[in-house]
Symmetry: C2
Subunit: 372 residues, 2 copies
Amino acid sequence: MKFSIERGVLLKAVAQAQSVVERRNTIPILANVLIEAEDSDVQFRATDLDVEVVDKAPAQVERAGATTVSAVTLNEIVRKLPDGALVTLAEDSAAGRLSIQAGRSNFSLATLPKEDFPVMASSDYTTNFAAPAPVLRRLFDKSKFAISTEETRYYLNGVYMHVSQGEDGQVLRCVATDGHRLARIDADLPQGAEGMPGVIVPRKTVGELRKLLDDDDMQIAVSVSETKVRFATPDITLTSKVIDGTFPDYTRVIPQGNTRKMEVDAGDFAKAVDRVATVSSERSRAVKLALDADRLVLSVNAPDSGAAEEELAVAYDDERLEIGFNAKYLLEIASQVDRENAVFLFNSSGDPTLMREGSDTTAVYVVMPMRV
Amino acid sequence: MKFSIERGVLLKAVAQAQSVVERRNTIPILANVLIEAEDSDVQFRATDLDVEVVDKAPAQVERAGATTVSAVTLNEIVRKLPDGALVTLAEDSAAGRLSIQAGRSNFSLATLPKEDFPVMASSDYTTNFAAPAPVLRRLFDKSKFAISTEETRYYLNGVYMHVSQGEDGQVLRCVATDGHRLARIDADLPQGAEGMPGVIVPRKTVGELRKLLDDDDMQIAVSVSETKVRFATPDITLTSKVIDGTFPDYTRVIPQGNTRKMEVDAGDFAKAVDRVATVSSERSRAVKLALDADRLVLSVNAPDSGAAEEELAVAYDDERLEIGFNAKYLLEIASQVDRENAVFLFNSSGDPTLMREGSDTTAVYVVMPMRV
């Protein structure tokens, strides 16, 4: 194998691949990236056995072939090469080395046989559709904060992507929850997504997917089977196993009868919550919301260290209400609001509270109260 | 005690004070900042018993007095208050609380009695002089990287500031070394510094001092005794115990007879060292320098992971030489060069190597070789 490639193109492909590689590996080949050169393309493939990313980049291929080298070391080398350099990678299979040459720099890296690299088995994808990157970005960005980190509840360790019934017909829906808060985000159902099996996309895959969606407005090809999900751009294919479990029936958690409505500027609200929470050093900081006609008082009382109170002007015309929340959860849902005011719908101080952005019902958040 | 102060002024004073406070404290009062209001000034004082910082800020003092509160919590609160806010701090001594009010935010923090706060005893300073901030900045910035972290060699855990004989008369000199490398930085001797006792300024104090010297060209008042050193601007006074030990005779370490001279662009050199070191994952990465007429070849050989080699154009007209160094040490000394080319003076592959910036002899670095 021998090919030449522009440093920037190489860096982008290798960086994406190496981010899938786990830093601590007991299986040496999993630390490596599989490089395959053929025709006028080179493919870089990395995996942790659960997620696989394949990055394709144009190159001048002089000799087709394939080998594997340390993904982290290759990425570090390419990152440190000067911008604009032409990089030549050549395999010396007799010596078991890959040489990397750019300008007056020469590197030689130990290789492992390409035959040992675990290429992910392809799946029988029953659903195939295309969705614009911004739509997928919104679905996952606004839900991922609620993913559980409790390993015992492994079926909550991801985002549940499925087809559901929205107000105006079927929607593509992403839901995440850790039992304390929940996010439910809807998008128009893309053509071809009807009948898609619901899948739980693992946290790590959500993170890797985010990089695919980074820059632009391109269409993302999505393929789903009962066991796998695949997201692809023309250059990058991300394939992941889905979590083998049943996502709980979240619909019962979303309150329907909450009528006490408070509307508040989300930015002001988040800043005030952040400030009053400062006086408490406990991990689960309870913030008390006391609501009265058009007036919200946020307060925290930490007997050992101090107390804090802040008043905010809000729109509220229901009866007096006091309710407590974990400060971190309040901050996280308030920071999801990007366009309009945050609208909170309360029932009583013991019931889950609902939050949405203005009158938009395609993004709904639920947060459980805390006793204060 | 009661006073009002502009948020930005308060933040600057409290931030400087709280940075001295150690995060883990067994003595509760050491987590606090002592606030003293009198006339039209407020003083903020924090200490870890070895270093003390006192920050003075103008305020509208309504009621003189003093108390102590958690430095970290106060800093966090002030940081989160909106820019430009007027902040009012008032002590309720009966309740043992300090209230902090800004706009519609109200905080109340637990206090500890001011009498319990350990104010550092003043010292009998035998030497007092003034030095421009940029001069002190250069002396400490260029030497601190070589400070040892080995606690058993406590007398190397700081920068040795003393008066010495330079090429053109007496100089103010800072030296630091960890036995593997050494930095020796000279400045013109300020008036009044003659006869100053040599003191070892601890690493933490060097870090705190750096913040004092940050912005401008002001004069810094320096006071030195056998046991303490003090640096002061009109607003901030940093007092520190010095390390109670004898700094070794560093002059014997600085080679005098090194004649093989190599001149190289410091930036290109550092980048090349960084690149070739990538292939080795060991902590002490040895880089080999092979010198020949106007040609330097840097190389690293890590049998398990790979090898790297890079050629650089240099000015060198002595006989062929091969010498090895720790890559990290080479990078660190090369990054001290800010104006001119790096000039290396070698003797043999087993002898310490000297580096300086161009023909400037007021900043000299020594690095020990490694067998490669």
